[in-house]
Assembly symmetry: C2
Homo-oligomer: 433 residues x 2
Amino acid sequence: MRMDELARCVKEASIKLAGAGAEQKNKALARIAGSLENRKEEIIKANREDLRRSEKEDLAPPLLKRLKFDEVKIAEVVDGIYSLIALEDPVGKTLLSTEMDEGLELYRVTCPIGVIGVIFESRPDALVQISTLCLKSGNGVLLKGGSEARETNRVLAEVIIKAAGEAGIPSNWAALLETRSDVDEMLKMDESIDLIIPRGSNDFVRYIMSNSRIPVLGHADGVCHCYVDEDADPGMAVKIAVDSKTQYVAVCNALETLLVHEKTAPDFLPELKKAMDEKQVELIGCPKTRSIIPAAPASEEDWKTEYLDYKLSVKVVSSLDEAIEHINRYGSGHTDSIVTRDKEKATRFMAYVDAGNVFWNCSTRFSDGFRYGFGAEVGISTAKIHARGPVGLEGLVIYKYKLIGNGHLVGDYADRSRSFKHNQLNKDFWLQS
Amino acid sequence: MRMDELARCVKEASIKLAGAGAEQKNKALARIAGSLENRKEEIIKANREDLRRSEKEDLAPPLLKRLKFDEVKIAEVVDGIYSLIALEDPVGKTLLSTEMDEGLELYRVTCPIGVIGVIFESRPDALVQISTLCLKSGNGVLLKGGSEARETNRVLAEVIIKAAGEAGIPSNWAALLETRSDVDEMLKMDESIDLIIPRGSNDFVRYIMSNSRIPVLGHADGVCHCYVDEDADPGMAVKIAVDSKTQYVAVCNALETLLVHEKTAPDFLPELKKAMDEKQVELIGCPKTRSIIPAAPASEEDWKTEYLDYKLSVKVVSSLDEAIEHINRYGSGHTDSIVTRDKEKATRFMAYVDAGNVFWNCSTRFSDGFRYGFGAEVGISTAKIHARGPVGLEGLVIYKYKLIGNGHLVGDYADRSRSFKHNQLNKDFWLQS
């Protein structure tokens, strides 16, 4: 089947799926979890084939590691599906209800977005995670994986689509795009794909964001900051910096640049250096930093760099406002924190730093859907519309307005024989399918 | 100043504006309203110059009509500004509050999007409306008007920016792009513009949507449907069809295609024809329609056409599902209604029709921000993310997460020495700037 035909089939099925109830979707998710467990030998065998071929083709070791999909990984994705089942259905929630006039009631009700395009590099767990998130939220999904994982992806997609079908989900709600079709072709399908979720390296995500008109949910970079104010508790600041930087270095919410007020720097920086030395973090500093502690010299490029490594750039600033300006200039709008005892400064920082997550006196590593208590994480978004920061299931839904009348005509309001009341009803949409 | 430099200035000012309080923004709006009134002679004079030049240059009469900005129009936009002042500030609303752990509180708080790009054809009132909506919601705005209105736009922008500045709003929050720069240049500025709002003809909006990676808030077409079910009250259905079609034909929420169940068609269509004849609406029908009433033959193209005129295409369908399929295939996702006495069918229609507004037993003409009671309308969106249907001020805001701790570290949760509570707090973000 041609790619655009396949996409149209998914679109048609997605409209049917939009009407599926919570119970049916959860039943399908449980069946998917069961099938993944029952057919794990088959999945692991396909994955071994991918690993063998990719090794021969000299795939880079970090990619080989991500490609691996063994019993542990299967158990993890199955656990993820059971957590997803436990979550409230994001579809059909009434967000607003207004009595426009007697017998004329308006409801804003959540509904699926439509068709989600998922593009992922080697990791096959991304296929399972995102397709089940789409199912829970009633969206159709077009899956495009990397060629290195083609056998694994083929089995996983088959298992998921078959299991969902057995629970009565329209069979075309999901489709795997085989690797010969180009990613670029998918990026042009703005007629049939409503949202793209990319999973992969920063370069990969950046490429997708720059080459499609379809909205993208995700982030290319996480250049996160911690600003240590002159009124900071220095002990707390050191601990927060160490946790933010080293608790897990390879992730988007890890600290990359520390800013410190010039009045605090002489006392604070030696303490920071000592703590970072213990964790073997290399420091890269501005000239003022280097006049206080030993550090490699920072270039302009360093302020924009997401190291994802045991490296930290450090800059001395002369004021809170300079810190805010630096963050808004070099940051990626992901997560930025301030350490201070001064409530007014914290308020100012949180108001003026233009990021999805702005923190006071805590680690940048907290910015995560599960830590926030969302139960599921669709991704972390640095976009400025639709969804920002860690995105839960609600990022996969939009709403429609449902208006119920009894022969109401606009002409009657235009000629003033009737007038609007606009009373808030605070009640749920009352029609059940 | 170069366009990208200008955009950067607006972006910087927009960050300052994000921290402005409701009182200050309302004061600025009141000053703008006052200045527009005080300087109306100057505005009208500039507009006359534009009209004179455009007439000489043979601008089409409908565009000339839209270009006109006289005392009546000024009074209208001034009224609009006073309504805007009366609305609640959309910024700083707490959408979610969670106690993640003792002393670790998470808040989701609304904030401005950043910089809005406004592109409008001849109508100068669009400049005033959208720039004041942006100010109320704390967004910077880049204004790009048509060359035919250049003198009017120049005066209006000057009046607005000066008046806002007198109320302490950062002077670069708004900028008028002069006409020599190309619209295409603006469409490429995805680094500095977060959202584009186009105001103009369908072709104009379609061009903008197809030529920018920046998200667009708006709609290109309004191909709205009314489906008259076999269980419809025929008298009600005729009245709803007439109101939907003729109450104002030149607007996006006017009816373009009527679908009627085959069992109802023989009795209903002659009644419809009689009523539409009275309003001088030309009927264009499918073969079945034409076997019952006289009508011009409909082509495939007719089902996709937004006439914006005294024309209505009519199709006989054999079932509710055929009606839903037709609407999802040919509709534009704007507004579609069903007339029926059957609650289950209405529910099915409203669940499966993929449109921003789905109506039961009332006129399509109700889909409008003011009629919905939003107090202001930013536009009507047929997008599937961020904002859909009539968009009020809340379409110009997004949110950020504010997390307040007291030295909290992720390491303590990773090693299980602490655990998350995730209690809903239901309280407003408590820091005030």
